[in-house]
């Protein structure tokens, strides 16, 4: 940080900021501009829906009904939106393998294009949250500190301080957020998969969600630092206690055994 504040006074700093601002403006324009083009492109959209419907009939209809109206084995998908499909299929949760307390995350078996087609089909059943675009969940312009506070207020109670997950009732659980694609985290907040409540824009504003995703990126990614050493799972005192007993006291006892052991005797002649 000291380095950064020192460089702020560099003569070229203003230029860098200007270039940065230009790049962000351009990027945002690029991100938002194609919207009307997509709207115009009706035929591509309806093609996607058609393809999606086929995929749906094969992979999803047995539980969610042929029209996505739901059945005793799966909820209705009318109005869940593209974001829900992108999350559920993108994280491999859907199609579900077997019923249970909770459908676990597993390897995703669809291509990105197929997921998009499925999402387009389900979105066509009723209005719901769309798949967020990159600008919504990228760390640019996010307040990590605020994100942390929001995370502790809204998310940590189930997902743990740094998103390591935790238990819910009767075998259900909040999964770990480590290594989860920021897009999927954003979508989970928007749609509230399985027993997770949703955090729509009335509950957490778009900026709030962006801050939370950025905070997780800072503290719960592969590159996140754990200055003190091994994280021990980031689970708090239980693993610390086990580690203290096994390695702390264990090492002390091992040393004590050496200290108290008899020294090897000379062989009897």
């Amino acid at each position: 940080m000291k380095k950064l504040s020192a460089r702020r006074r560099h003569p070229l700093a203003a230029l860098v900021v200007l270039l940065f601002a230009l790049a962000v403006t351009g990027g945002l324009y690029a991100a938002f501009a194609p919207a009307d083009k997509a709207q115009a492109d009706d035929t591509a959209q309806s093609l996607a829906i058609k393809e999606g419907k086929k995929l749906f009939a094969v992979g999803c209809a047995s539980c969610h009904g042929t029209g996505g109206q739901g059945s005793s084995d799966g909820p209705s998908l009318v109005g869940v939106g593209a974001a829900a499909v992108d999350f559920q299929v993108g994280t491999g949760r859907m199609p579900a393998q077997q019923p249970g307390a909770q459908v676990p995350r597993k390897r995703n078996i669809y291509t990105n294009a197929q997921i998009d087609q499925l999402a387009a089909y389900v979105a066509s059943l009723g209005p719901g949250p769309a798949v967020p675009d990159k600008a919504q969940y990228s760390a640019d312009g996010a307040d990590i500190g605020k994100g942390g506070e929001l995370f502790r207020t809204n998310c940590a109670q189930c997902h743990n301080f740094t998103g390591k997950g935790g238990a819910l009732t009767n075998g259900k659980y909040a999964p770990t957020l480590e290594g989860v694609n920021p897009k999927h985290i954003y979508e989970a907040m928007e749609t509230g998969p399985q027993n997770m409540p949703s955090f729509g824009d009335g509950t957490l504003s778009k900026q709030n969600k962006k801050d939370i995703v950025a905070y997780l990126g800072a503290v719960d990614s592969d590159k996140s630092a754990s200055p003190g050493g091994m994280e021990l799972g980031g689970l708090g005192p239980v693993t610390e206690g086990l580690f203290g007993y096994i390695f702390g006291l264990g090492a002390c006892v091992a040393v004590a055994i050496w200290v108290a052991a008899r020294t090897t005797k000379a062989k009897k002649s």
Binding site: T153, P227, L232, P237, A256
Partner: protein, 545 residues
């Protein structure tokens, strides 16, 4: 030694410098008499005798590192906004206690290391005390004359728990703050005085601005001061009583066999301090503990899953977690049994182990000193009680971490809670029975070994074709080791009527004592050790098998 000293004295015409300093001190402090008794004091060698040393040394490490931490820590609940080095905390409101903990961790070079050594040493301290206590328990080292020292040790353990808890609360992070909130709930649950006590302890409504400074004083002054006093008393008694020893050749109740304090134990015990400190320093280098920056500052409306105390409070946490939600409302008053019962059971379980030495000596009616340790198998009832106690303790530790067992072993948290509820009552009983049977089995094996020798693993074929395993007779050292223990007779109540035919009045306590005594030393609870006659009969000429 003494010859050498006189030689040097004669050469220089004046006592050497060291001796003169010692003379000076002796004239004022009487150190020669002290040293005469203690300098060559004998200590027996056994690794398990060093568990207490691990506790002692980690306590010293905690004091050393703790003093360093106070140089930087601000025990204040005044609110500040963070602008330090740790970016993900920028702009967050927090108390000075939390901010200064972040400062120690990120802006004081080596501060993080000292913090981690302090905390790791605290976990090892409590763990070492616990295991040390178990060693003393299972070997019967608490018997006369050491009952008082057992109590001192027990008090150290209990005070250590509370010192640890107050220290864990000081950074005012989200995890420890949740623990303090729990304490508030416990105080409120106390009948009659609860809400008054809560206001007085917190200086107003929770959380207030007083609890951290108050905990600080308790953590750095009050409790460590008492503990230091108890610790010194504990050590003085260890030296005064002289150490116990395991049975063996040449070891009697009237001697202590080992090596002298100077030089061997000076080097071994002194060296062991550095070894323990080294081990803990390396652990603090490689493993993170209580990363408060990841946990965040305390706010009463925030919480994280996996909210647990440090391990030594896990037992209490377990009791609270598995308690059913009972509450009484009557005449405008409420009793919160969901909190009250666990908080009463917690000290009761601890006291059960603390008073055990007095119960056992009462049951046995033994007034003699004991310096030879028991082998746990030779006192099956005590061993079984100890194991049952441990099972109850560890079942509750499981209960205290039920959420983590649920996620990591894919179980239902409700099932674990139910398991713990049942196992807390059933587990100790099963453990008691199983342990007793195992002890008796081991006694039987010892008896076989004495009478028939050790199984050598060599198979011999006799001339008529029979295969036998050669049993190797034990030497006298081993025979002595396996037969030296006492087997007391159970206390008898005597005849129900006295010589005049009048019914004797028996106090209920006498009956209870006789019953317990039978449970300890009665026929079914002990395998009579082999007698010399049995041994001679088997070994004289008949051969084995």
């Amino acid at each position: 030694m003494s010859n050498e000293t006189t030689a040097t004295t004669a050469r220089r015409g004046q006592a050497p410098r060291g001796e003169r300093i010692a003379d000076w001190a002796d004239g004022r402090l009487g150190i020669y008499s002290l040293a005469k008794a203690n300098m060559r004091k004998i200590f027996p060698d056994h690794w398990s005798f060093m568990l207490g040393e691990v506790a002692l040394y980690s306590f010293i490490i905690i004091i050393l590192t703790g003093v360093y931490l106070t140089l930087f820590f601000h025990p204040s609940m005044a609110e500040v906004t963070y602008h330090g080095s740790y970016v993900p905390m920028h702009g967050i409101k927090m108390t000075q206690a939390f901010e200064s903990t972040l400062h120690i961790s990120f802006d004081v070079r080596g501060g993080l290391l000292i913090r981690q050594i302090h905390h790791w040493a605290a976990l090892v301290f409590l763990a070492a005390m616990m295991v040390h206590m178990m060693r003393v328990f299972f070997t019967g080292a608490f018997r006369k004359p050491r009952e008082v020292n057992w109590l001192f040790g027990f008090l150290l353990f209990v005070l250590g728990m509370f010192t640890g808890f107050t220290g864990y609360s000081l950074p005012d992070d989200l995890l420890s703050g949740t623990g303090v909130r729990f304490i508030e709930g416990v105080i409120l649950a106390m009948p009659l005085i609860g809400s008054y006590l809560q206001m007085f302890i917190f200086g107003g409504e929770f959380p207030g601005h007083d609890i951290i400074p108050r905990f600080f004083t308790i953590h750095v002054l009050l409790l460590p001061g008492i503990m230091l006093g108890l610790l010194v008393a504990h050590l003085i008694l260890v030296i005064y009583h002289k150490h116990t020893q395991f049975p063996g050749a040449g070891k009697t109740n009237n001697n202590v066999v080992g090596m002298p304090l100077l030089p061997v134990y000076m080097a071994k015990a002194g060296g062991f301090f550095f070894l323990v400190f080294g081990v803990i320093a390396v652990i603090a280098a490689v493993a993170s503990i209580n990363p408060v920056w990841a946990i965040g500052p305390y706010r009463p409306d925030q919480v994280s899953t996996g909210a647990q105390p440090d391990w030594y409070m896990g037992f209490a946490e377990g009791l609270v977690r598995v308690m059913p939600g009972w509450e009484w409302n009557f005449w405008g008053h409420t009793i919160n049994f969901g909190v009250l019962i666990p908080i009463l059971v917690f000290p009761l379980v601890l006291v059960a182990i603390a008073v055990y030495p007095f119960v056992e000596s009462w049951v046995r009616g033994d007034k003699r000193e004991h310096h030879i340790l028991d082998r746990p198998r030779n006192v099956p009832t005590r061993t079984a009680f100890g194991v049952a106690w441990l099972v109850a303790y560890f079942v509750m530790l499981i209960g205290g971490g039920n959420d983590l067992w649920a996620t990591h072993f894919h179980l239902s948290i409700n099932s674990i809670t139910w398991f713990v509820r049942i196992a807390f009552f059933v587990g100790p009983v099963l453990a008691f029975i199983a342990t007793k049977r195992i002890c008796l089995g081991l006694q039987r094996r010892d008896k076989d070994k004495v009478l028939h020798g050790r199984e050598s693993g060599i198979i011999k074929r006799l001339p008529h074709g029979e295969f036998i395993e050669v049993h190797e007779p034990l030497n006298q050292e081993q025979l002595h080791f396996l037969t030296q223990h006492e087997q007391p007779e159970p206390v008898e109540l005597g005849p129900e009527v006295d010589e005049n035919g009048v019914r004797r009045k028996l106090k209920r306590s006498q009956k209870l004592r006789a019953k317990l005594s039978k449970g300890y030393y009665g026929e079914d609870n002990v395998i009579p050790k082999p007698t010399v006659e049995e041994y001679k009969e088997i070994t004289s000429g008949h051969g084995h098998h």
